[in-house]
Amino acid sequence: MSEKIAISVKDVSKAFRLPHERYTSLKQNAMHLFAKRSYSDFRAVETVSFDVKQGEFFGIVGRNGCGKSTLLKMLAGIYVPSKGSIHVHGSLSPFIELGVGFNPELTARENVFLNGAILGLHRKEIESRFDEIIGFAELEEFVDQKLKNFSSGMQVRLAFSIAIQAQSEILLVDEVLAVGDSSFQKKCFDVFRRLKKEGRTIVFVTHDMANVQEFCDRVLVMNNGKQLAITGPDQASDLYQRLNAENELKEMDQLDERNRWGTNEVAIGSVEFLDGKHQPSRVLKTGQPMTVRIQLEPTTAKLPLLVGLAFYQADGTHVAGPNSDGQAITTQSQTIEFTLDRLPFVEDTYYATVALFNKSGDITYDYIDKGFSFVVSGTKRSFGNMAVFGEWRSNK
C-alpha cells in the first residue's frame, strides 16, 4: 500500500428533497406555482470525510438505510453531492449492481458485449477476453442461449465475470458477494484476494463482519448518514455489532411491564447490567465478566429475601436461573449484585426475569417477568447454546 491517495472525500453531504406531493406535469406545477411547496429534506449522508489510499481495501459498514449505498453512488458519480467534494484519482469501476443493462431477449454473447460496453470496455477488449469471461462464469454450453432462459444464479455468474474484466485501478463493490452458490462465492473471494494482491484499491460495502475482518484494512462505520468512526476491522465490527444491539434493544424495550406481580412488601427499584469494566452496559461479551445489579425500593420492613434471576434467549429458551438461596440478603439491602466471572452466554439477545421472594420462596414480593434485556456479542463464532471455557491439553 502506498501513501498516495486514490479517493479523497471531503465534507460530503447528500440531501434528497422529498416533496409531499410530487408534480410531474406542467399543469400541476402551474397550479401550485404560487402555493407554498411542502417538502422535506432527507439527509442521506451528512458531512462525511475520508481518504482511501492506493492499494487499500476500504470497508464501509452500517445498518440498512445508514447512507452507505448513497455514499457509494456518489463515489461512482451517479449522484452529485449536495455539498463537499470528491476526488477520484485513477480509473474507477462500480460493481454497485451486477448485470445492469442485461437484456433478457439477447443471448449471453450479446449481453456480454452490451454489459461490457456499459462498464466502459472496448469491443476489442471484450472480444479478446470473451472466452475467459464465459469460462469463469461456467457457461460455455449456453453462450448462444437467450438470457431469459438462464437461472438467476447463471445470470449473476455471467455479470460478475464481466464486471471483473473492467481493469480499473479502483473498484467499488456493493454486497455483490452475497450471491451465487458457495462454490461460486469462493471463486469471487479468490478474485478479490488476487485483486488486493495486485494492489488495486477496493471500496467494499457490506454487512458481513467476517468479510470485513478478512479483507479490510480500514473501515468506515456509518450510522444515520453520519460517519461514526474510521478504524481497523476488529474495532469496526465491534462497533457495528454494538449498533445492531442497541437497535434490537430499542425494539425490545417496547415490551410493556404488564408482566409484573407480587405482594409489593418490597419492590425492585432498578436493574442494571455491568460489563467487564464494571460500567453499565447492555452489550456484553461472551467470556467477559458480567454483573446484574439490582436496586431495591427503600422499605421499613426487615425480612429475609430470596432473589431469583432467569435468563432467556430471544426465542424463549430458558438458559439459566440462578437464585440467592443460602445468602444473607434482607429487605434492608439497597444494592444486590450477581456477578459471573466469565459470561457463558453465546451471541444472542437475552431477556432477564428478576424476582424477590420470602426466605422459603412461597410468597412472591415482586416479580418482573422478562422485563429486562441485553445483548451478548461474541468475538468469534460460537457453536451451541452455551460457551464453555475449558482447557485443552495434549502430550505433544
Partner: protein, 274 residues
C-alpha cells in the same frame, strides 16, 4: 432552493464511451424488430405505406395543384422519409432518458450516451429508407451529380443536428414534465403540415411562404428535393430575399449548442429525478 456550494467530482481517468453508444444503438435496433417475421423490412414498409396513402389521396383523388410537377412521387417520398427520421428520432429521444432510468440509477456514464445511441439508431433506419429513394430515383431515371450528393449529405448532417438539438431539450424536460409527450405530439402534427411535405410550396400564398420556409425542417426538405430530384422545388433562398434566409441554417447549430449545455446541466440530477 437552498444555496449550496457547487459540488466537485473529478475523475482523472476518462473512459471511452463510444463503444457504449454503438452497443446501445445496435441493441436498440435489434430489439425493435425482434420476434417479427419481416424484421427490418418493416422499417421500409412504414414510409412506403404512408407514401402510398398520401399519393393516392393528394395526387389521384384530390389532385392538389402542383402535384403534377415532374417526379412528384419521388419528391413526396423523400419528404416523408426525411420527416419520419425527424419525428421518430425526437420522439424516441424524448422518452429515452426515462426508459433507461434503470441504467441511470445504477451506473455512471455520460448521460449523453443515451441520446447519441438513440440518434444513431434512428440514423440506421434513415439510411435504410434512403435506399428505397435510390431505387425510386433509378426507376424515374434521376441521376444526381456527385456534388449534388455531397450537398445532400450536408443536409443530412444538418437534419441530424436539428434532431439532436431538439432531443437534448425534450429528453431532459420529459424527465420532469411528462406533458411534453402530448405537447410534442401536437407540435409534430403542426410541423408536418407547415413543412410542405405533401403539397408543393408553389400553392402557398406569398406572405405564408416566407414564414414556412424559415423553419429548418422545410428548408432541409426543400433543399434536398431541389438538389437531387426537382430543380423546380422552392427553397428558402427562393422565398426569402434578405439575410434572414440564413436563419434556418443557423437554428440547428444554435439548438445543438444550447441544448447540449442545458442537457448537461440537467443530467447531473437524472439519477434522482428519473
Amino acid at each position: 432552493m437552498p444555496r449550496f456550494t457547487p459540488p466537485k467530482i473529478e475523475m482523472s481517468a476518462k473512459r471511452n464511451y463510444w463503444s457504449m453508444v454503438r452497443e446501445l444503438a445496435i441493441t436498440d435496433f435489434k430489439l425493435k424488430y425482434q420476434g417479427s417475421i419481416f424484421g427490418y423490412l418493416w422499417s421500409l414498409m412504414k414510409p412506403l405505406a404512408i407514401f402510398g396513402v398520401l399519393y393516392l389521396v393528394f395526387s389521384v383523388f384530390v389532385r392538389i395543384p402542383g402535384s403534377n410537377i415532374r417526379h412528384y412521387p419521388v419528391y413526396l417520398l423523400l419528404g416523408i422519409v426525411l420527416w419520419n427520421y425527424f419525428a421518430e428520432s425526437t420522439n424516441n429521444a424524448m422518452r429515452s432518458i426515462v426508459d433507461k432510468g434503470d441504467l441511470i440509477r445504477k451506473v455512471y456514464f455520460p448521460r449523453i450516451v443515451i441520446l447519441l445511441s438513440n440518434s444513431i439508431s434512428a440514423l440506421i433506419t434513415l439510411v435504410l429508407n434512403l435506399l428505397i429513394i435510390v431505387v425510386f430515383m433509378a426507376i424515374a431515371q434521376i441521376f444526381p451529380s456527385p456534388l449534388e450528393v455531397l450537398g445532400f449529405l450536408g443536409l443530412i448532417v444538418e437534419l441530424y443536428l436539428l434532431s439532436l438539438g431538439i432531443s437534448f431539450f425534450l429528453g431532459a424536460l420529459y424527465v420532469k414534465f411528462r406533458d411534453f409527450a402530448y405537447i410534442w405530439e401536437v407540435a409534430l402534427q403542426l410541423l408536418f403540415y407547415a413543412s410542405a411535405i405533401i403539397f408543393p410550396l408553389s400553392i402557398v400564398p406569398h406572405r405564408y411562404l416566407q414564414i414556412l420556409t424559415l423553419s429548418p425542417v422545410t428548408q432541409i426538405i426543400q433543399d434536398a428535393r431541389k438538389l437531387i430530384i426537382s430543380p423546380a422545388s422552392i427553397t428558402t433562398f427562393d422565398a426569402v430575399h434578405s439575410p434572414l434566409h440564413f436563419v434556418p441554417y443557423l437554428i440547428p447549430i444554435v439548438l445543438t449548442v444550447v441544448g447540449y449545455l442545458y442537457f448537461e446541466k440537467a443530467a447531473s440530477k437524472f439519477a434522482e429525478d428519473v
